[in-house]
């Protein structure tokens, strides 16, 4: 029963926030994440994004399950690659052709937190915003209906696709097919065959589903040229309060940046 779901209904005040407030908050996190390249500051922004997820009581395991690997890999890649492009900083240690500098390490770790902050914020946003609020929120910030509906369809396709992949894998496993048999070399050689075994049935199923989905959408009266009339959502005191806090925190960090904090100047 492999399913993929983002929205987690916990009924917290975060969940009940006006969709536009959540979009504004997400936007400020993205801006702040790219405002600092010192790891200490990036880490604070990461925590700020994480606070939203904690307050909304969404399962952190689910967020970290997705975000953690990205954060680690981005940090490692940045640490290794920065010295190749930048000069300056003191060499901390050398390994083969790689030179690791203090600047490289700081910026690399900061990159990990920057990406991490964006991912945690985006996942937190999706986990606290229902599909309908998502479309309404995007419409409020003038995103074309066709585009927001496209996002909804993509989200809708994720569980279907993952479900199909799971079933095809099980069906082929039932015929003694083992994707991981043999040495790494043998697996690389068999890559095309392994892919065919999985991709052809999944593709076949998805193709037949696409026509059916189109028919179903039509039958449910979905008209992409004209968005349906939306609910009139009003800003309440929680929305206003949350917006105020968001703006204050954002202004504070931007002020720090303007004053010269949180940024390492690098020479290319």
């Amino acid at each position: 029963m492999s399913v993929y779901r983002l929205y987690v209904d916990k009924g917290t005040f975060i969940h009940r926030l006006h969709p536009i407030v959540k979009i504004v908050w997400l936007f400020t996190i993205v801006v702040l994440a790219w405002t600092f390249n010192r790891w200490e500051y990036a880490f604070v922004i990461f925590l700020w994004a994480l606070l939203y997820a904690i307050l909304s009581r969404v399962p952190l395991k689910k967020i970290f399950g997705t975000a953690f690997l990205f954060v680690i890999w981005t940090a490692i890649l940045s640490i290794i690659l920065w010295p190749a492009f930048l000069r300056g900083g003191n060499v901390v240690f050398e390994w083969n052709v790689f030179r690791f500098t203090d600047i490289g390490l700081s910026v690399g770790i900061a990159y990990g937190f920057r990406i991490g902050a964006c991912m945690v914020a985006a996942l937190g946003w999706l986990m606290t915003t229902s599909q309908r609020e998502l479309i309404e929120g995007l419409a409020d910030v003038r995103v074309p209906y066709q585009f927001s509906f496209g996002i909804m369809l993509a989200l809708r396709y994720a569980p279907l696709l993952l479900g199909e992949i799971g079933r095809v894998r099980e069906a082929q496993k039932s015929r003694a097919f083992n994707w991981n048999r043999g040495s790494v070399k043998r697996r690389i050689q068999a890559f095309a065959e392994n892919t065919r075994v999985l991709v052809v049935p999944v593709f076949n199923r998805m193709l037949s589903s696409v026509n059916q989905i189109a028919l179903c959408l039509d039958s449910k009266g979905c008209d992409f040229s004209k968005p349906p009339k939306r609910r009139k959502l009003r800003f309440n005191r929680f929305d206003k309060g949350f917006l105020a806090v968001t703006f204050c925190v954002t202004a504070f960090f931007l002020a720090l940046r303007i004053m010269g904090y949180g940024w390492i100047t690098m020479l290319a």
Binding site: Y4, N178, L215, L217, G221
Partner: protein, 576 residues
């Protein structure tokens, strides 16, 4: 009464094809009428639904000739949105009908598009979910529901819009028997409360006989038989449609004088009433002779399930216990049906037999091997598993290659592979199909390719998940005859199904599951004899069995087929 649907000489060709799929259909349906559409696969039933709903040609293109008029509105002369306001349609595949991330959001989608007030949307969603027995499911994630539950969400979505005309294309093919009954009851209630006109495509003749005012039988794009259920089922002959049990019994009894003055019964209640009248009139004193249940010879079990627990999504929000403290033994040569409500754990249990799922607690021993310690790829040599949809495994462009796939994974020699493929093709009756492309075969034939590809691995046990779903009666019987033949070669066969008529006809042993536990386990006759307990598992035995229970003063044993009922009645004096 006015006609809300008028079809005149409807001919339809799909875009990119030159073959006529509908070949001159004429039909008029009155307001509030329930029309059942039956017929073999490929008869054009789904295409008729698409044309009726206006989706053909508005959405899918193609060439349409003739006229389809819905409440005075010619579908080809109006925008689809205008036609759609009058019609609700539910398709066969529940997976593709879900769009919301929550059940209530999904059911509300059409209502939101209709721009109804919030309050009204909430009320309609609640009422529609109640009608399909999904109260309390409002916040559930639709994709984590069982097949039957998903289908009911789709039906609720259509019901919520209160359409003038409701079209249902095999809406209950994946539902348990009581689930089917409830959906059909909901359909009937909808007609009575709102005078909704309903067109329903269905293979389940028992339910159609009960609710339809009229039945059409289609074949090769034409309506070949039309009339009231009683009339149609008495004349349907060899059109690939299953005749309800009680009608079959009526056919047999009408050869005798006592019956000819009575109408054909359509429902169990009808049949019970008529039979009681005849029996009392003729002053029958005796009861039918007892029908023996053959003893099943049992040696060592081939599969042993001990205190099995299985939990999906452990440690997550969606954690669900699917199996609880389950104990079971399966023997070599069993021909066994695994039945139960949607979501009762049938498939979860079956996936433990070949190691696709490993026990959360307890153990499953297959031929002395603990499945926890053996990979599924190794267990595949002992337990073959055919999935419900053959398209989940087919990836080759030749039938031969598809069947050779399993044996190749066992690293057999080319000669062994050739022999096994040839033997399997022979066994499933597809000899001569070696070079055919499986993607272009019918569903029944694709299912047989899937079975052959598993048989070629020479498993001792074969598990077939829903072998007849989406098939017409003729294909279902053909598939089950194959299952029986495989069992006669000494293999253990376990099939999962919601079709109780197939269970009664083919299974020797039945396991009934409810809420992750085995509720009943025994010979088919004995299990179907326990109607009250079966109800707890949302199972309803076949109509003929229900009839024998209603007339238990005369029937000593539970009856499993119309022939058995007829034989029993012949033994009552003075009929004999």
């Amino acid at each position: 009464m006015t006609d809300v649907i008028e079809i005149r000489n409807l001919r339809y060709t799909y875009a990119g094809s030159e073959d006529l799929v509908l070949k001159g259909i004429d039909l008029a349906v009155r307001k509030g009428e329930i029309v059942g559409v039956m017929g073999p696969t490929g008869a054009g039933k789904t295409t008729l639904c698409l044309a009726l709903s206006g989706l053909a040609p508005h959405s899918i293109g193609g060439k349409i000739e003739g006229e389809v008029v819905i409440s005075g509105m010619k579908t080809t002369e109006h925008e689809y949105a205008d036609v759609a306001r009058k019609i609700g349609i539910v398709f066969q595949d529940p997976e593709t009908q879900l769009f919301g991330m929550e059940v209530e959001e999904d059911v509300a989608l059409r209502l939101v598009n209709m721009e109804l007030p919030e309050k009204e949307i909430e009320e309609r969603v609640k009422s529609a979910l109640h009608m399909v027995r999904l109260d309390g499911f409002e916040k559930r994630f639709p994709y984590s529901l069982s097949g039957g539950e998903k289908q009911r969400v789709g039906i609720a979505g259509a019901l919520a819009a209160n359409p003038e005309i409701l079209i249902l294309d095999e809406p209950t093919s994946e539902l348990d028997p009581i689930g089917k009954r409830e959906v059909f009851d909901a359909i009937r209630a909808l007609r009575e409360l709102r005078e909704t006109t309903i067109v329903v495509v269905e293979h389940n003749s028992d339910e159609l006989a009960r609710i339809a005012d009229r039945i059409l039988v289609m074949k090769e794009g034409k309506v070949v038989l039309e009339g009231e259920a009683r009339d149609v089922f008495s004349r349907v002959g060899d059109l690939g449609v299953r005749i309800p049990d009680v009608v079959q019994l009526g056919n047999l009894l009408r050869t005798r004088d006592e019956w000819t003055e009575y109408d054909y019964p359509l429902t169990v209640e009808d049949a019970s009433h008529i039979l009681s009248t005849i029996i009392q009139k003729q002053k029958y004193a005796s009861t039918t002779s007892e029908i023996g249940t053959p003893e099943i010879e049992r040696e060592e079990p081939i599969i042993e399930v001990k205190d099995l627990w299985y939990v999906y999504g452990r440690g997550t929000e969606e954690q669900t216990t699917a199996l609880r403290e389950l104990n079971l033994e399966i023997y070599q040569g069993d021909l066994m049906a695994l039945i139960g409500q949607n979501g009762s754990g049938k498939t979860t249990l079956a996936k433990h037999f070949n190691g696709l799922l490993k026990p959360t607690k307890g153990s499953v021993i297959v031929e002395g091997l603990d499945t926890k310690k053996i990979p599924a790829t190794r267990l595949a040599e002992i337990v073959g598993y055919c999935f419900q949809n053959p398209d989940h495994q087919i990836f080759n462009t030749k039938v031969w290659d598809e069947i050779a796939f399993g044996p190749r994974n066992l690293f057999l020699t080319e000669k062994e592979i050739r022999d096994r493929v040839s033997e399997s093709l022979q066994e499933v009756g597809l000899k001569g199909y070696e070079n055919r492309n499986p993607f272009f075969l019918g569903k029944g034939e694709r299912q047989k390719v899937a079975v052959a590809s598993v048989l070629a691995m020479y498993p001792k046990v074969l598990v077939i998940d829903e072998p007849s779903t989406g098939m017409d009666w003729k294909d279902s019987i053909s598939m089950m005859e194959l299952v029986k033949k495989i069992n006669q070669t000494g293999k253990t066969v376990i099939f999962i199904t919601h079709d109780m008529n197939l269970v009664a006809k083919y299974a020797r042993r039945v396991i009934v599951m409810a809420e992750g536990k085995v509720l009943l386990d025994g010979p088919t006759r004995s299990v179907f004899g326990q109607e009250e307990t079966l109800r707890k598992a949302f199972i309803k035995p076949p109509e003929i069995t229900q009839l024998s229970h209603m007339l238990r003063d005369y029937f000593k044993s539970t009856v499993l087929s119309p022939d058995e009922a007829y034989d029993g009645l012949l033994h009552l004096s003075p009929m004999n």
